[in-house]
Symmetry: C2
């Protein structure tokens, strides 16, 4: 499926998701709405609500109330972005200044708390206890994942399994939950729910692995983020992890010393980039993302052929070739 036909096929859903987001009852505190608006309407891809809507439809659910439910995942996502911004000290997010640089850490933390509470209120309002179970379980996993990631900064001995655990909790768990909750809304069977969850899990892993790859290979004007921030912050992601595994002693020592440079330079990053490239760090990362895509599709293929299945397949394949 070509990018253009994919976009055409989801454009109506995206419009209705935007409308549902705009329709969520605002806070009585105007300042909260200002910050929320900045983070919620900053050009997000709406991947999570879109997955909820499409997974519900795949299970035969056509009720438009799905849009109202689906946006809770965008709220949850926005809440984690705000706390991430503070924790990472990121300067930019989606090509704009990160929220904490505009409103300070204090307000950013508290509006994050608000968006999280708002997300749970949507689940309560929709009256679906099963959705609430999945959502609270997921937020627990996510908060543990954020802590794990923080503890693993500078851990150059990080294994591939540990890396996977972090990105599962940090990114894939919420995407898996968004998919499963589409199934729940549709009254899907236990087996279907599990398949949707597993589909979302592998899609989410591929998504985050690609994100980590774009942090090296992306173009700043396209991704809206600085390039090389992970490396500059000493964060070990898959390209570096593979390169460290693959390199000879000389390359490994050089990589580690560049990684630990307290004042990283563009030249240092360029040198590290070349060492990672030479040691197949990017190539193997791309292959790993590809494998996750294939696994995601295996779970998707448990559902009978259907135009919505094709759409989900197209979205899944697009994750790998996206440039932002």
């Amino acid at each position: 499926m070509e990018k253009e036909s994919l976009l055409a096929a989801i454009s109506e859903d995206l419009e209705r998701i935007e409308a549902a987001l705009a329709a969520v009852q605002a806070s009585q505190v105007p300042f909260i709405n200002e910050v929320s608006h900045y983070i919620l309407f900053a050009g997000g891809k709406r991947l999570r609500p879109l997955l909820t809507v499409l997974c519900a439809r795949l299970c035969g659910y056509e009720d438009p109330r799905i849009y109202e439910l689906s946006v809770l995942f965008e709220y949850l996502h926005a809440a984690t972005l705000l706390h991430d911004d503070v924790v990472d000290g990121a300067e930019f997010r989606r090509g704009r200044r990160a929220a904490h640089n505009l409103w300070g850490n204090q307000a950013t933390i508290l509006v994050g708390d608000y968006l999280y509470a708002r997300a749970l209120r949507i689940a309560v309002e929709k009256g679906n206890f099963e959705v609430l179970k999945v959502v609270t379980e997921t937020t627990l996993l996510m908060s543990e994942g954020e802590v794990l990631q923080l503890l693993n900064v500078d851990n150059t001995g990080l294994t591939e399994e540990e890396y996977e655990e972090v990105i599962f909790r940090k990114t894939a768990a919420l995407i898996a939950a968004a998919c499963e909750c589409g199934g729940i809304a549709a009254g899907a069977s236990e087996a279907e729910r599990k398949a949707l969850w597993a589909f979302g899990r592998h899609l989410g892993l591929a998504f985050q692995i690609t994100d980590d790859l774009l942090d090296y290979l992306g173009v700043s004007t396209e991704t809206g983020k600085d390039i090389g921030t992970d490396f500059k912050e000493g964060k070990v992601t898959l390209p570096l992890l593979y390169a460290l595994q693959n390199s000879n002693d000389g390359d490994r020592q050089r990589l580690l010393s560049l990684l630990r440079d307290p004042e990283p330079t563009p030249q240092g990053f360029e040198e590290a980039f070349k060492i990672i490239e030479k040691n197949q760090g990017f190539e193997r990362t791309r292959q790993r993302a590809q494998r996750e895509i294939e696994e995601a599709l295996e779970h998707l293929y448990r559902f009978p052929a259907h135009p919505v299945r094709d759409l989900l397949e197209g979205l899944t394949r697009y994750v790998l070739i996206r440039r932002k």
Copy 2:
């Protein structure tokens, strides 16, 4: 009811609450347990779970599962304490170093998120949708209240109504929810639930007003906090608000200039203290707390006479004379 007989009457409940807190399933991430333990077992009064247990009993509910449910309010409270610590930049909490000074802002924010998610999971595990409704509604109010408080720092034109709104959201809403959820667990009527909520609301207002008074009048070794931090941070609470209303132009100008001193001194605080005292700031604050106590008791008296009602009355009256 004397303090000693009050303590004796609640000692078994407090023990069972401690046991329930200790029995909550730990995180798989040891570091999270370390921070959680520090904040959860730092000598908290367990007021919120105790109110849930006693309010349930007042409505005739004796099932020991109430202890398991009640601790969700201690988890929620601990989560807000962690985020408060970061937002306030407080140095001490309950006589020990504030969490963010030990583990840094990043970990403190994220463990706060974890405790919040854990609290909601307890509500989900207990399977009570009504409790979840009240809890999510309350967390929404609370997060808005925290933002309001942040926006009101330095607002010397704060009215008594605005102050009440902030402390309701910040403190009283959670205490009211803890009381109401005791009633929900007991299957109380709508009228009983409302009475418990209103009782908790006024009790919570009295509690926070007394807290704000102790920030001026307390003894640091008893409260475990620095004295005068609100004033030094430019935070307008009731004693100052009343004093500003009551004082002549000279006193008001002097108070405002001391409040805005970018480098506050102990001498400056002492001078401000005397001006507030002279203008009945403390006296009127105490009277206001007393009125909240009386209002709380009015709602409590809607329930028939009962030893548990006496206990709740004793606890309520104790709020005003507590020294920490």
